[in-house]
Symmetry: C2
Subunit: 336 residues, 2 copies
């Protein structure tokens, strides 16, 4: 079956190229991998793969290099990911088990992920939109200044200062507190926003002010979608193609809005998504790949995590690492 062998050749080329960073030729291929055919045969296959757009040569009479389409096929045909070694598994648990709060969990995850994959890691905070309101607290800093504190089921805490039009006394504050809690506690964020909106319309005065402030906090895009980036030092391994590749990437990493779009569509937990080169939505990052997956308690993905790296990367290993961290993280959120 020559079709099957071609896939094997492609796989071998991808593996070699990822390992050596150099165009790979027919002779070296048959030697390093146990292909029981001659170099000439492999050459024919390579020519065919090139015609179909899976390979490219930097210049005539050089070895072949996978194209984005080639990586795509390689990833799609990937049957089983490189399993985590027991050392790696141990590293994951010792790394994450010591975390004390949500911030800590997230920042540890970023470090872990960037170390495991030796790439730039990105972890999004569990999104508000699918979590529920655990409690709302109002703290009087002055008679007409409130601190509005929103506590979510994920352990996330958001707060905001609110200047009231008129001062309120302690009993009025207690009433307010139980009012907004009665309306919002236990609800999904999306539902709480609606409920507080109607409350604001129905009860003008301080209640409306507080409710509006809460709605603002809940729908505030910035706090909605916070994320943490780590492992930028791994970019130093790019070496060549520096200004063209690293600079836009570094810029994108600081533009969290862009990053969020990058993580954007990655779906349910369990499924690892790979975006190769120009498949992504950010044109400056057309020479990088993004490996992401969703995570969250009870297998519904509250947020996304993943890595960004060169298209020439160890996909099986990276995908396995991303999946493993996401699973462990989900488990932790389950417990907390």
């Amino acid at each position: 079956m020559q079709e099957e062998r071609r896939i094997a050749v492609l796989r071998a080329i991808v593996e070699d190229y990822v390992a050596t960073e150099e165009p790979v030729g027919s002779k070296a291929l048959v030697e390093r991998h146990g292909l029981n055919v001659s170099p000439a045969t492999v050459r024919n296959d390579m020519a065919a793969l090139e015609d179909e757009g899976y390979l490219a040569q930097p210049h005539t009479s050089a070895g072949r290099v996978p194209t984005d389409k080639g990586y795509r096929l390689f990833v799609d045909r990937l049957t089983n990911l490189k399993p985590m070694s027991s050392a790696e598994k141990r590293a994951i648990s010792t790394f994450l088990d010591g975390a004390v709060d949500l911030d800590d969990v997230v920042s540890r995850s970023v470090r872990l992920l960037s170390q495991l994959t030796r790439q730039v890691a990105v972890v999004q905070y569990p999104t508000l939109s699918r979590s529920t309101v655990r409690h709302i607290e109002l703290v009087a800093l002055a008679p007409d200044r409130l601190l509005v504190v929103l506590i979510l089921s994920t352990g996330r805490v958001e707060q905001r200062l609110l200047e009231l039009d008129a001062p309120v006394d302690d009993t009025a504050l207690a009433d307010l507190r139980s009012l907004v809690n009665g309306v919002a506690t236990g609800e999904l964020i999306s539902e709480a926003i609606v409920a507080l909106g109607t409350l604001a319309a129905a009860r003008p005065g301080p209640a409306a002010e507080v409710a509006e402030s809460l709605v603002e906090v809940m729908s505030d895009h910035r706090s909605h979608e916070r994320l943490v980036v780590g492992g930028a030092a791994n970019l130093a391994r790019y070496g060549d193609s520096f200004d063209s590749a690293v600079r836009p990437l570094l810029e994108a990493l600081e533009e969290h809005v862009v990053l969020l779009r990058l993580l954007g569509e990655a779906s349910q937990s369990g499924m690892v998504t790979v975006r190769i080169g120009a498949e992504g939505p950010v044109e400056e990052l057309s020479s990088t790949s993004v490996v992401t997956t969703g995570y969250g308690p009870h297998d519904n993905a509250l947020a996304t995590l993943g890595i960004v790296g060169p298209t020439r990367m160890d996909y099986p290993g990276t995908m396995a690492a991303v999946r493993a961290v996401a699973r462990y993280l989900s488990r932790i959120l389950d417990e907390g």
Copy 2:
């Protein structure tokens, strides 16, 4: 006065080298700057400056390059910083005035500073240790689970979950709340820690637990000294000397502990501190300079901000930008 001219020569070399990134020779020097002497004279001065360690040549028969010691002298002899253009001044105010809370102020400052200097900017959060306790709030998530919220005079809010040994009811909670607030509100963090410590010793039970938790939050190093980094994309301008210079720098930027040591000793607000090359405490960063200054309300420095960049940088401009941002930031904290 030949001594004076030597300083002028050094200054001219530094300026040219910073601008061109290339070793500068005697002829180009007299042309570009209005030195009314011949190249030969300059050559003599350069040889003298090299003997004294202020200059170096990459190789025989190349131009001269300033040494760290040369930059040091240049900076010390700096009488007046490059004034901010009115456009820059406008940029600063429009950039910072829209900020809504402390997080926002800090992150905007980082962006601003990195854009003004085209270097990597670092801004430390106003330190807890010199700020005071504005309010403490206890929120019952469950009968035996409290959320302890600490609000500081800087607007900073810290929170922590606390599992109690025994459940407390609402009235007991109110008592606890007024107890800890009575002891700590209005105090400096350092004093509040002491007061809460004695409270914990005197009143075992839930009060002690709450007090200990608060002490922990207050002395927690991690929350103590948070900082934000921005403008890493500017590292792309390093171009050459890549792996040797950028990689350790990127690593240091993620190691906030290291960065804090770097900002460390920078003193009162108003004074801009410059650490050149190996003068700093981090040996991996011996080819970079750090320009920092303190900032905070009422001219006492709560925290430090600054930039990290190559020793070959525009010191007058950078120092002016750092000072300008720090002043503006201090003013904002004054008002808030």
